[in-house]
């Protein structure tokens, strides 16, 4: 037996979770070091080792697995610090990534500058070649035009090259030939092709993803290369694994090849934790609700499995790789209350961020943030924020909220209550986006709260949506890092089929065989159990939205596959159209390498006997009232706490409202029943 380590690098803190051979979980938090995130990672590991009474070298020397979530790619895209990319593309089509299919956000905003593409037009170089939709060659690859384009790239000295040809999803021969020529001339460049990154029909999504891959490839290569070396130097002899946007993990080499696939590496750990808690028995159907300082991530776990989407837009770049379906709301504890131009109270989209932060941080913030409102309402203990490592300035909060209250002509508590209620409504709408608008009724789900701020809002959000049960883990603030210890190795593959109608079974069988061979090859270094899952994206002839249909338990013949689609359509939209043409657009295959999960046990302490309240606090819940405060760490197994009450630990505060009943589950979470008619 050996240690396993999960590392989650967030905006402010780097969280380290160590699972010990005897089933304990040890947690450490270090400051994130934006210039080189690997500094913070090594600081955190040293701190965790200290808590275990070990040296960092001794800990790393007996560690079997490290799983890492990184925001390096996301930050590079958001901050415009990605690599300069040269693009080779089919002659006559060099504006695909900038045209964005003719779409623009914000329908009524006609005073908007267009987004700057990741590759400027002058570096999008035409190559004379053309494939047809059936894979036949319309125009052979012209070596003279290819060489001229590569000369241009050499002169520009680009560190990364994206090769994007039309219909390469069907026939990649020209891309492969061009990539070989580029690698020969530019041996140090990061070279990537659209047929390797996303062999899928629809050129905007494929090209945009490939260009994003080239833009973050060198960034990820540098960062993960450096981190691997530093961990090896510090004594680690195992494989560094990286969690990807689809929630599975991969080796460093694979994360570099598919660098754009790390775009959701940060929030993926949270979803992995929700999946692991579903397996632990929390519930089969969960809504993961991760409320941070500037944003809130919401994701569904259905029947124990995460939900995937067909991509994500990060910093204006469309990345169409299979990704966890995470709805990100631009609102969190740092969102600022204000009076909008219509004279109504509004919250956000402005945020106080980490610096200056809410007024109560005392770093110069003067506008009231959600956290300030919560402090004014008495929900937070100013002396026990982050386990007492930071003291909150309640007077500064009161002053900030008072200014807003005066402008609105209402009392201070009413203004604070208004901010609190409004952000709850925004959060509830975010959950609606993740559920109702995807055809899912949230009322059968359990709302799983994590992130430091969620516990104050989550029961009100549940009440507004008619959700009866809320779970708040005691380790809510480091749950993402813990989740990383509970994932599997995963390779997601896809091949577009592209028939006009019907299913070409020979082509489909060939695609699955090819994908399985490729996936197993990518996991050839792994000696554990490997399983394979098949599915297909299908639709009716004239529709535009495809449905993912699992095919593992379906006979591999056209009629059975079509019938599986009709049934899936019926289940989703209440009807099937059995007289219509069925189109199988993409074949998908997941190759999964099973890793042993970390134990959930030991996430918190369990009191021997039911704890009484450690005191009372004056809070505003419609009116001012004194309510009991319980120490989360002292609660005994199955102890119940009736709202109104507060349950708090160093890093997590839970507000139980009238009608809420919390029960402490010894496995490490507060299980809250939200009764009908509870105060929203």
């Amino acid at each position: 037996m050996a240690y396993t380590i999960g590392i989650d690098v967030g905006g402010t803190f780097t969280d380290i979770v160590v699972s010990t051979p005897d089933g304990r979980t040890v947690v450490a938090k270090a400051a994130t070091t934006p210039a080189d995130q690997s500094d913070g990672v090594l600081d955190g590991i040293a701190l965790a080792a200290e808590r275990l009474g070990l040296s960092a070298t001794a800990l790393l020397g007996t560690t079997a697995r490290i799983v890492h979530g990184t925001t390096a790619a996301t930050n590079a895209l958001l901050e415009g610090k990605s690599a300069r990319v040269g693009m080779l593309t089919t002659e006559g089509h060099r504006d695909v990534i900038e045209m964005r299919e003719g779409l623009k956000p914000e329908r009524y905003n006609l005073r908007m500058a267009p987004p700057v593409p990741l590759v400027r037009r002058g570096l999008r170089l035409s190559v004379r070649e053309r494939m047809r939709g059936d894979g036949s060659v319309e125009t052979p690859l012209d070596r003279a035009s290819l060489n001229a384009a590569i000369d241009h790239l050499a002169r520009e000295d680009v560190p990364a090259v994206a090769i994007c040809f039309l219909h390469a999803w069907r026939n990649p021969a020209h891309e492969i030939e061009a990539a070989a020529a580029v690698r020969a001339r530019l041996p140090n460049a990061y070279v990537t092709t659209s047929s390797d990154v996303l062999p899928q029909i629809k050129e905007f999504e494929r090209f945009s993803t490939t260009v994003a891959n080239a833009a973050v490839g060198p960034v990820i290569e540098n960062y993960l290369g450096r981190l691997s070396r530093r961990l090896a130097d510090a004594g680690y002899g195992g494989e560094l694994l990286v969690i990807l946007s689809h929630g599975g993990v991969a080796s460093v080499a694979e994360a570099i090849r598919l660098a754009a696939g790390t775009a959701l590496s940060g929030p993926a750990g949270g979803v992995a934790a929700a999946v692991a808690l579903a397996r632990e028995g929390v519930a089969r159907n969960l809504i993961a609700f991760d409320m941070g300082g500037t944003s809130t991530d919401i994701a569904l776990v259905r029947d124990g499995a995460p939900t995937l989407s067909d991509g994500k837009t990060v910093g204006g770049a469309r990345i169409a790789l299979p990704s966890l379906d995470i709805v990100t709301l631009g609102a969190g504890g740092g969102s600022l209350g204000k009076i909008d131009k219509a004279g109504l109270l509004a919250v956000g989209p402005e945020s106080a961020g980490a610096d200056p932060g809410p007024a109560c941080y005392g770093l110069g913030g003067t506008s009231p943030a959600v956290t300030d409102a919560n402090l004014v309402l008495g929900y937070l203990d100013p002396t026990n924020f982050l386990g007492g490592r930071r003291t909150l300035d309640a007077d500064a909060s009161a002053a900030a909220v008072t200014r807003l209250a005066d402008a609105l002509g209402v009392g201070v508590a009413d203004a604070a209550g208004g901010i609190h209620r409004l952000v709850n409504t925004r959060m509830a709408d975010g959950v609606r986006v993740a559920t109702v608008r995807r055809g899912v009724d949230p009322r059968g789900f359990t709302l799983l709260a994590f992130g430091g701020a969620a516990g104050l809002h989550v029961t009100a959000v549940a009440a507004e949506l008619g959700i009866a049960r809320v779970v708040v883990p005691v380790a809510a603030s480091v749950l993402s890092a813990w989740g990383m210890l509970n994932t599997d190795l995963r390779v997601e593959l896809t091949r577009s089929q592209g028939q006009l109608r019907g299913i070409d079974m020979a082509m489909l069988a060939r695609s699955y065989a090819e994908m399985e061979r490729e996936g197993r090859e990518r996991l050839s270094w792994f000696d554990g159990e490997v399983v394979v899952r098949r599915s297909a994206d299908m639709r009716y002839g004239e529709q535009v939205f495809e449905i993912a249909v699992p095919l593992d338990d379906v006979a591999q013949d056209g009629a059975s596959i079509e019938e599986a689609f009709h049934r899936a359509h019926e289940a989703l939209y209440t009807y099937a159209l059995r007289d219509q043409d069925v189109v199988l657009v993409n074949a998908r295959l997941s190759v999964i390498g099973r890793l042993p999960p970390a134990a959930a046990g030991g996430m918190g302490t369990v009191g021997a006997a039911p704890a009484s309240a450690k005191g009372t606090r004056r809070v505003h819940l419609g009116g001012w009232t004194d309510i009991p405060v319980y120490d989360f760490a002292a609660l005994a197994a199955d102890q119940t706490v009736r709202g109104p009450a507060i349950v708090e630990s160093d890093t997590t505060t839970v507000l139980l409202r009238a009608g809420n009943v919390g029960r402490f589950d010894a496995r490490g979470w507060l299980d809250v029943t939200v009764q009908d008619g509870a105060t929203p």
Binding site: G102, A342, G343, L344, G418, D429
Partner: protein, 552 residues
């Protein structure tokens, strides 16, 4: 008096209901124009026919919805719970025939608390553009129409239900009069589903907050939006302004049709007078009354803050003066199908041009005109007939204070809301090869901030079986207008290059143009209008355009 916090919470809740109705529509609609191009809109309208909440879909619909609700309420002053209403006639509250509007009434609880049993509170409304509405040609757009009966089936406000049950006989009659009855029924069902969802959600809000609090809060949120709008308008320079925009022709020999906007801005009020516009014409570029009201609202909204809550209050500062018999308000019987694009685009442009000197930081250069092509032929790979609608090679958008315009983004009336889709998918599904689909260098109107570029598309048609093209649109003669000293964008230039034939320029309103196998349609679409004096353009921006190969 309701408290400002409840008002804010309720405004968020009502907007969320409209969004959810839109999402339900998107996921359940059958035809491509709805589920891909999203040509539908949602509105919640109160018992006084005031727009309370809407979802941002197609801007040209939304200002028209209260007029439709008024026409319906006048015809059916005493609706009952469970009723569903429908209309499309442009002379009875509609905009043009393919837009079908569904209304579901929502009521306060009865005195004894029974939900939906009391006074009328809302209309839950869904408007959607159907792919066919009968008439002389497929797909509703008929450049040869000289009267509305050539354009399709006319529906005054009608009740689709009897005692709360849909009248199957009536639905059959409607479906019998359109070319794709299955799509028609499917899309209509999706519309009804979306409006009924709005009814359910509104009932829940009424139950939670009470009808009185809700009604008072709505008054407060409309007043708030009015304050926001007036606060903006008050910052514009007072004065009497004039602007015009010109349509190429009506397809029947009448050319250079002028929209004339006299705009008076005083304090926080704006009056738009279009009465001097040219008389109505023979072809289908005439506008219906509701469509013109909507186009004027859209122009006004484009000059306000984009995040203003689009409800009745936001439009209170605006007064519209129209005269029947003009191109912007055709007399009953005239064809109007093109009007949601043209002359809507020209109405918007005339108003923006007029107000540009009053609020130069808010006005924007002209956005492109729509010129559509539909091909009807046989796919030699399958032997099946096909119809293909061109959405590629879109025109450019206008420059603004924020910077240069978006390239290949579309027109004023859709404003970047319609996706042209994948060329790879189009080539797989249709016998077409897109030899070129790129920006059209030199097409943008110059300015301190230039317009966006139009497109350059060479489309090779491999269809057989007497393939023919229809066109419908505008902008071959008149390009998108530059403002405040900026230049106009280049107009469209479409050419048919048939094998062994001389190049043939395509006009904007043609039907049954033969397109033999191997023909190339060369589309050069218009650029957007420039904003501000070209002499003030940054040299660095000019150098960048040259470096990126965007100048000719």
């Amino acid at each position: 008096m309701t408290d400002p916090i409840t008002v804010a919470v309720l405004q968020n809740r009502l907007n969320a209901i409209a969004e959810e109705m839109g999402e339900a529509m998107l996921r359940t609609a059958y035809s491509q124009i709805l589920n891909s191009s999203r040509d539908f809109s949602i509105a919640l309208i109160d018992a006084r026919c005031r727009l309370v909440a809407q979802a941002d879909h197609i801007p040209v619909h939304v200002g028209a919805m209260p007029w439709a609700a008024k026409a319906n309420a006048e015809r059916f002053p005493n609706p009952s719970p469970g009723d569903i209403y429908l209309l499309n006639d442009p002379y009875r509250g509609g905009s043009h025939l393919p837009d079908l509007t569904i209304f579901v009434p929502v009521f306060a609880p009865a005195a004894d608390g029974t939900p939906n049993g009391g006074q009328l509170m809302f209309w839950s409304v869904n408007r959607a553009h159907h792919s066919d509405i009968g008439g002389a040609t497929h797909g509703a757009y008929n450049p040869a129409a000289t009267e509305i009966w050539h354009e399709g089936l006319r529906l005054p406000p009608i009740r689709l239900t009897e005692n709360g049950v849909l009248r199957e006989d009536l639905l059959e009659m409607l479906a019998l009069n359109v070319r794709h009855p299955r799509d028609f029924r499917g899309d209509l069902a999706a519309q009804i589903g979306s409006a009924k969802l709005g009814e359910q959600r509104l009932n829940a809000v009424i139950a939670e907050f009470g009808a009185t609090v809700l009604a008072e809060s709505i008054d407060a949120m409309l007043d708030a939006a009015e304050r926001h709008a007036r606060g903006t308008v008050a910052t514009w320079a007072d004065g009497d302004y004039y602007g015009e925009a010109v349509l190429d022709d009506d397809g029947f020999g009448k050319t250079d049709i002028v929209i004339r906007a006299r705009v008076t801005k005083k304090g926080s009020d704006v009056t738009v007078d279009l009465t001097e516009s040219d008389p109505q014409v023979t072809g289908f570029v005439n506008s219906s009354h509701a469509n013109t009201q909507s186009a004027v609202s859209m122009a006004f909204a484009f000059l306000l803050d984009p995040d203003i809550t689009k409800n009745e209050g936001a439009f209170r500062p605006l007064k519209v003066v129209l005269k029947e018999g003009t191109i912007v308000w055709a007399r009953e019987g005239a064809p109007v199908t093109m009007c949601t694009s043209h002359c809507s685009n020209e109405i918007i442009e005339a108003i923006i041009v007029a107000l540009a000197p009053a609020c130069p930081e808010r006005a924007m250069g002209g956005w492109g005109r729509r010129m559509r092509i539909a091909l009807n032929g046989t796919d030699p790979r399958t032997g099946r007939r096909f119809i293909w609608h061109m959405f590629q090679a879109r025109p450019g958008g206008g420059g603004s204070v924020a910077g240069d315009g978006y390239s290949t983004i579309g027109e004023w009336h859709s404003a970047g809301g319609i996706k042209f889709g994948s060329i790879e998918v189009a080539e797989t599904r249709f016998p077409l090869v897109f030899e070129t689909h790129e920006y059209r260098p030199g097409s943008a109107g110059d300015g301190a901030h230039r317009g966006g570029y139009g497109g350059d598309m060479r489309l090779r048609v491999e269809a057989t079986g007497n393939c023919v093209a229809n066109t419908a649109g505008e902008g071959v003669v008149h390009g998108a207008r530059g403002i405040l000293g900026g230049s106009d964008g280049a107009p469209h230039d479409y050419t048919l290059l048939a094998p062994d034939a001389a190049p043939r320029k395509l006009k904007t309103k043609e039907i049954n143009v033969p397109v033999p196998t191997g023909s190339v349609i060369h589309v050069l679409s218009g650029g957007g209008g420039g904003w501000g004096d070209p002499a003030k353009r940054d040299q660095a921006d000019r150098d960048a355009d040259r470096r990126e190969g965007l100048l000719t």
